[in-house]
Amino acid sequence: MLVGGCDVGSATGKAVVMRDGEIVSYEIIPSTTKPEVTARMVMDKAVEKAGLSSIADLQYIVGTGYGRLKVPFANENISEITCHARGAQWLLPTVRTAVDIGGQDCKVMSLGANGKVLEFVMNDRCAAGTGRFFEAMARVLDCGLQGLSELSLQGKNPATISSQCSVFAESEVVTLVNEGMELADIVAGLHASIASRLNSMVRKVGLVEDVVLTGGCAKNDGLVKALEEKLGVTVKKLPLDPQIAGAIGAALIAAEKVSKQTMKSPA
C-alpha cells in the first residue's frame, strides 16, 4: 500500500511517501507564494525519489499545514496539530508532549499513548518563537541560521532580552551590539527568551515526559539546549528529520484511511 503526506507550511513544503508503514522517501523545499504549486513540486520530487512514475501511484494522500486546503491531489485535509502529534508519536512512541516550531507559528500538544492529541495551545499571532523570529535575528546579526545555533551554544552569560516581539527584540539586539556585548551572549539570550515563551505554553497543557521538538527549528541545537534549561527536563531527539513530522503524520493517517476502506469493501 502506497500513501502520501503533504505538509504545505509557510516557509517550506514537505512530502512523505510511505509503503506498508515504512517511509520510502521524503522531500523538503522552500514554499512558493502559491500553495498548490509548492504542494505539486514537493510531492512530485518525493514520488520521483521513491522511484514511482506519478502521484497517481499513491492510493491516498492527506494534506496538512497552512496550505492544506490548496493541495490539489489530496483526498482530504487534516489540521497540522493532529498530524504533527501523530508523526511525533510514530517517530518516538514514548512522546507525551510535542513542541512544534514552524515558520510562522508554534504549538504545543499533549498526547495520549495512542498519539491522539489531548490538548493543544498555539501561537500564530506574532512571530515570537517561530522560524521567522530566528530568520530576522540571523539577518540582524549577519550570522545565518546555522551560525545562530552555534553562537548560542557558546554563550556564557546570556543577555537578558526582555522583549519577545521580533521587532522589539531586534531593537534590543541592536542596542546590545552597540554596547559591545559578546555576540554569543546576545544570541544565547535570544534563545533563552524564546525558550521562556515556549515554557509557558508547555505549562498551559502540562509538562509530561517525553518531550520532543518538531518542525524546522528543532534542528537548532541552541534552542533545544535553552528549552531543556527552562523546562528542567531532557528534550528527546527524534530518529529522523524533525521537520517532516507533520508530513509523516499525514501519511500515517492516509494509510489508516486506506486500511479502513479495504476492511469495508468486500474482498
Binding site: 489540521s79 496539530i81 493532529t82 492529541v117 490538548e119 495551545v121 500564530d124
Partner: protein
C-alpha cells in the same frame, strides 16, 4: 453545513445584526420613537422600555478601524470599546437619544468619561455603578442605582415610570426570555432546525428593536420552525462560553468546520434569558436589582461566583448533549482569561474537552480560527 432556514422573519433578524440602525429601528424613529444605547447586559433594559424608549445594546458592527479612538485608548485595550468609541467619534451613533454606560470592566468604563467630553451632541449620558459582589448589601446598592437612573430618565424624557409601568415592562421582557428559551429548546434535538450562528443573529436582533415587536417576530419564527429538522450533518455538538460575541460570522467559521453550536453561556445568549426576573416581589426595582446582581447567570466580573458559573456551564453542556466547549474571549480581557483557565480545570475534571480562543472584536484571522476549530474537532475524535 447549509443554512436550513428560509424565512422572511429570520432575514429581518439577520439584517439587524449586520447594521446598527436596522429597518425596524428606522421605522421606530420615523414614528417619533427614541432609542437609548446601553453597554453591557447588566443595564436593566426594562427601565428603558418602561420609559417608552427602545433599548439598543451597543456594538460596533461594520467598524473597520480604531484610528480615531486609539488616541484615547491604547493597543492593549480591548478592541470592543475601541471600535465602539471610534464609531461614536465618526458620528455613527447619532441615531441614539442617549447612552447608558456601566463599569462592567475598566475598558468599557472609560468610554463613559471620553464620550461625555468628546461626543457632546449626546444629550443624555449616564453611568451605572454595578457592584462586584452578589450579597444583599450589593443588591440594595444596585436597587438605588436603578432608582437613580429611573429618576434621570423621567426627568430628561419627561415621562413617569410608575411601579405599574415598570412591572409591565418586566413582564414583556420576561416574555422575550421565555420565547428565546423555546428557541434554544429546539436545539436539543439530534437535528436542530437552527444553527448556532443563526441563533446568535436572533439573539442579537433582540437587543436592537422594541421588545413587543421582537416578541411577535420571534413567535412567528418559532411557528415556522415547528417540526422542522435540520440537516444533522454536523461532526460534533458544541457549546460556546465567553464574553461579548455579537458576530454570527465568527460562529459560522466554527460551524463550517462541522462543529454545530447548540448552546452557550454568552451575554448575547443564555445568560440574558435562561433565568427570568422574579415577578413575585413587591418592589420592581428590588426585583430588577436581585435579578441583575444575583439571580441571572453571572459573568466573571462578579466575585466569588466562579463555582456557580462552572456548574452552570457543565449542566448546560450535559443538558444539550455537547461533545465539547469552546471558550472565547476578547484579547486583553483579564476577567475571561482567568475564568477560562479555571473553567478548563473544572471541565477536565468533568471529562469535557475545551478549546480556548482569543479573538479581536472584529472577526479576522479566519485561517487561524479554522485551524484551531478543525484541530479541536479532530482532538475530540469527531
Amino acid at each position: 453545513m447549509e443554512t436550513p432556514i428560509k424565512s422572511k422573519v429570520f432575514e429581518q433578524f439577520n439584517e439587524a445584526t449586520k447594521t446598527l440602525l436596522n429597518p425596524v429601528l428606522q421605522d421606530w424613529k420615523k414614528q417619533g420613537g427614541k432609542i437609548i444605547g446601553y453597554f453591557c447586559s447588566t443595564v436593566p433594559e426594562e427601565l428603558i422600555t418602561a420609559a417608552g424608549l427602545t433599548s439598543f445594546r451597543m456594538r460596533a458592527t461594520g467598524s473597520t478601524s480604531t484610528e480615531m479612538s486609539d488616541a484615547f485608548f491604547s493597543s492593549i485595550n480591548c478592541s470592543f470599546p475601541r471600535h465602539c468609541f471610534n464609531l461614536a467619534l465618526t458620528g455613527e451613533f447619532k441615531f441614539l437619544d442617549g447612552v447608558v454606560c456601566v463599569n462592567s470592566c475598566d475598558h468599557v468604563r472609560r468610554i463613559y468619561d471620553n464620550w461625555k467630553r468628546f461626543v457632546p451632541d449626546t444629550q443624555f449620558i449616564e453611568v451605572m455603578s454595578l457592584p462586584r459582589k452578589t450579597d444583599p448589601p450589593q443588591i440594595a446598592w444596585y436597587r438605588d442605582e436603578i432608582n437613580l437612573l429611573r429618576e434621570k430618565l423621567e426627568k430628561h424624557f419627561g415621562v413617569k415610570i410608575s411601579d405599574k409601568t415598570l412591572w409591565k415592562a418586566i413582564k414583556l421582557h420576561n416574555e422575550t426570555r421565555r420565547l428565546q428559551k423555546k428557541l434554544y429548546e429546539l436545539r436539543k434535538k439530534d437535528k436542530p432546525p437552527i444553527t448556532g450562528s443563526e441563533t446568535l443573529a436572533v439573539m442579537v436582533a433582540g437587543t436592537a428593536m422594541p421588545k413587543a415587536q421582537y416578541n411577535d417576530m420571534l413567535r412567528e419564527l418559532l411557528d415556522e420552525l415547528k417540526g422542522v429538522e435540520g440537516p444533522g450533518d454536523h461532526r460534533a455538538r458544541l457549546m460556546l462560553v465567553g464574553g461579548i460575541l455579537d458576530d454570527p460570522a465568527y460562529v459560522k467559521v466554527i460551524e463550517d468546520q462541522g462543529g454545530l453550536v447548540v448552546t452557550d453561556s454568552l451575554c448575547f445568549g443564555t445568560r440574558i434569558m435562561w433565568v427570568e426576573v422574579n415577578e413575585n416581589i413587591k418592589d420592581p426595582a428590588e426585583a430588577l436589582a436581585r435579578y441583575y446582581v444575583a439571580e441571572r447567570p453571572s459573568c466573571p466580573r462578579f466575585y466569588g461566583e466562579h463555582d456557580n458559573r462552572s456548574n452552570y456551564v457543565i449542566n448546560m453542556c450535559r443538558e444539550f448533549k455537547c461533545d465539547g466547549i469552546i471558550g472565547e474571549r476578547l484579547m486583553f480581557c483579564d476577567s475571561w482569561l482567568v475564568e477560562h483557565y479555571m473553567l478548563g480545570q473544572d471541565l477536565k475534571a468533568a471529562g469535557i474537552p475545551m478549546l480556548k480562543l482569543d479573538r479581536e472584536y472584529i472577526t479576522g484571522g479566519v485561517g487561524q480560527l479554522r485551524t484551531r476549530a478543525q484541530a479541536f474537532l479532530e482532538t475530540i475524535g469527531r
